[in-house]
């Protein structure tokens, strides 16, 4: 089905199930319970999971396949956001043209930046992309303020033209992004017992885009083009002496991953119609590198897992504060309670970066293949145990035969 082999198809189905049932999966604890703060099933965060998943899938096409480590991919995400917001300002609040323009504009930018940066490889390539991204950030932040809104960011206004839409709604508000009448912010709640599950239009729109992006990534991975990209990573010298020009291959990979970033940026603006320069900063570029490596560079599902993992930590761990800790450990004697809270304190709240950093180090050292390698190890361990059991069982039955 879909021209995929069995293994890839089951991977696609897993991702489809995970994303479509995310409101249930991410809300395992009843609302109002002590564990409710570990729930991640609210629209805003779920949208972010999926959008950064798309971003990381695209980044992985460049980094995972060709081995070219770009440190400037957030620039394309930012460009996509700006393009989408401009579309909302000038054309209409429909998300389709906004996202299309975001993808096209980020594709053009990545063509230009890739063309220059890909003249070098290795660390020089990384530095070039970083330099470009920081230049674009600086431009967006100050020089290009008329286009980008500078420090305050680009926002919608009541007097925007919106040729195909309305400048303001009947109530005098700024219209919200939608898809042919479906508003992105619309949600429906399902209450079962103590649980509350929220189904949000914007989230499901992003989820469908993620599935399409993931499917496209599988096709690219399994195509002759994908094989050539892996060959670039493996041995460029042999490529050149096998009659293959590596430059257009790497450039195509760069542009494709830049367009994925633009798609993510466009979606981000569609969920919340504003764009700021901080989206293009180098920390944002570094984040997608972390996501890809943490999940497993070069694997299909790794970047999606990595993106979910990091965004979960960012949003959930950063929300735990000392008060929460005290309530957790209130069963301990006072002195001990304070001591435990004191020890955990640096790892939560604003210190979540520390937790993330430690986890990242552990993964890189013990699981160089990322979370995917962890999963594979667990599976092969289970398999071994199973075959061992079977082996001893068949051994016992042998004499009877």
């Amino acid at each position: 089905m879909f021209n995929l082999n069995k293994k890839d198809l089951s991977l696609l189905i897993i991702v489809a199930v995970l994303t479509l049932f995310a409101p249930f999966i991410l809300n395992p604890f009843p609302a109002g319970s002590a564990m409710a703060q570990f729930n991640a099933g609210y629209p805003d965060l779920m949208q972010r999971f999926v959008i950064f998943g798309i971003f990381a899938i695209g980044f992985n096409i460049l980094f995972g396949l060709t081995g070219y480590l770009s440190f400037g991919h957030a620039a394309f995400l930012g460009v996509g956001s700006y393009a989408a917001v401009w579309m909302f300002k000038l054309l209409s609040m429909n998300v389709i043209p906004a996202i299309l323009l975001a993808v096209i504009v980020s594709g053009l930018f990545s063509l230009l930046i890739g063309f220059v940066s890909l003249r070098r490889s290795g660390i020089y390539f990384s530095i070039l992309t970083l330099a470009f991204a920081q230049m674009m950030f600086a431009l967006a932040y100050s020089v290009l303020t008329p286009i980008t809104g500078g420090e305050t960011g680009l926002q919608l206004a009541l007097n925007d033209p919106r040729i195909l839409g309305v400048s303001q709604t009947a109530e005098g508000n700024i219209p919200v992004p939608g898809l042919f009448g479906l508003e992105m912010r619309d949600s429906a709640d399902l209450v079962i017992g103590g649980w509350v599950f929220t189904f949000n239009v914007g989230y499901y729109f992003c989820a469908l885009v993620l599935l399409a992006s993931f499917y496209l990534a599988i096709r690219i991975f399994r195509s002759p083009f994908g094989m050539m990209l892996r060959a670039v990573k493996s041995n460029q010298q042999r490529m050149n002496y096998t009659g293959l020009n590596t430059r257009p291959y790497t450039l195509a990979a760069f542009v494709i991953s830049g367009m994925y970033a633009g798609l993510a940026g466009g979606l981000m603006a569609s969920m919340d119609p504003l764009a700021g320069a901080e989206r293009m900063q180098w920390t944002a570029s570094g984040e997608v590198v972390l996501m890809t490596i943490l999940g497993g560079a070069g694997t299909l599902i790794g970047p999606v897992l990595g993106a979910g993992f990091i965004k979960y930590f960012e949003n959930i761990f950063s929300k735990i504060n000392d008060n929460v800790l005290h309530s957790w450990f209130s069963f301990l004697p006072d002195g001990l309670e304070d001591a435990v809270v004191f020890i955990i304190h640096p790892f939560i709240g604003k210190g979540w970066h520390l937790t993330l950093g430690i986890l990242f180090m552990l993964v890189v050292i013990f699981l160089p293949g990322g979370l995917v390698e962890g999963g594979q190890r667990i599976r092969s361990w289970l398999k071994n145990r199973k075959t061992k059991d079977n082996g001893s069982a068949s051994h016992e039955t042998n004499p009877a035969e």
Binding site: S223, P224, Y241, T242, L244, N245, I256
Partner: protein, 251 residues
Amino acid sequence: MSILEVKNVGKRFGGLQALSEVNLSVKENSVHAIIGPNGAGKSTLLNCLVGKLIPDTGSVMFDGQSVLGRAPYEINQMGISRVFQTPEIFGDLTVLENMMIPCFAKRDGAFELNALSAVLSQKDILEKAEHMLEEMNMADKRHMHAAAMSRGDKRRLEIGMCLSQEPRLLLLDEPTAGMARADTNNTIDLLKQISDERDITIAIIEHDMHVVFSLANRITVLAQGTPLVEDDPQNIRGNPKVREAYLGESA
């Protein structure tokens, strides 16, 4: 009829004149060996033929067309394949994938944005690669990671990859360097078989006289960046100039 014509090629690196006035003519369907002591300029000459270096003077014509100023991949597409001193293969890919890549390069050219069709649906390429693996006697290793193979197998794979492009000229840079005697003999047999069975010209740079005299039907001796003599193997053996270049005047 010569397929490769090198005329008056010179190359200087700073103060070192690596090549000067090199003239060389490789006849079609011959096995032409280029020998010489260390530092004679053999590898520099080879790099000038494949586009890695551009000579300062002279011309290199392949089948009537100049190769100078062309990128290595363009020269390869003209019909020159190169085997490296240490086997250059795609270590992270499987043996079968290694063999498929040159088949794609032959069919689709230097670049093809074939991003939506599956590799496994390319029946012609698969068939050709499988066939080549069988010919190289490594069909049983097709799903192995290429990097995990022995050096002899890597060399075999590399030669097979070059052959699957159906090149007109195969350049080999010391193909048996660092090999055990048995592997060396296997490689000699393989190359002999290739030159007998195929419509192909082989130019080989080699240190090992055993390899040279088992394979070559024409030999050029290079010394200090200039060809000393070009002749048939039996005449090279007894040539005093060659002895001098290799063993010093006292010999």
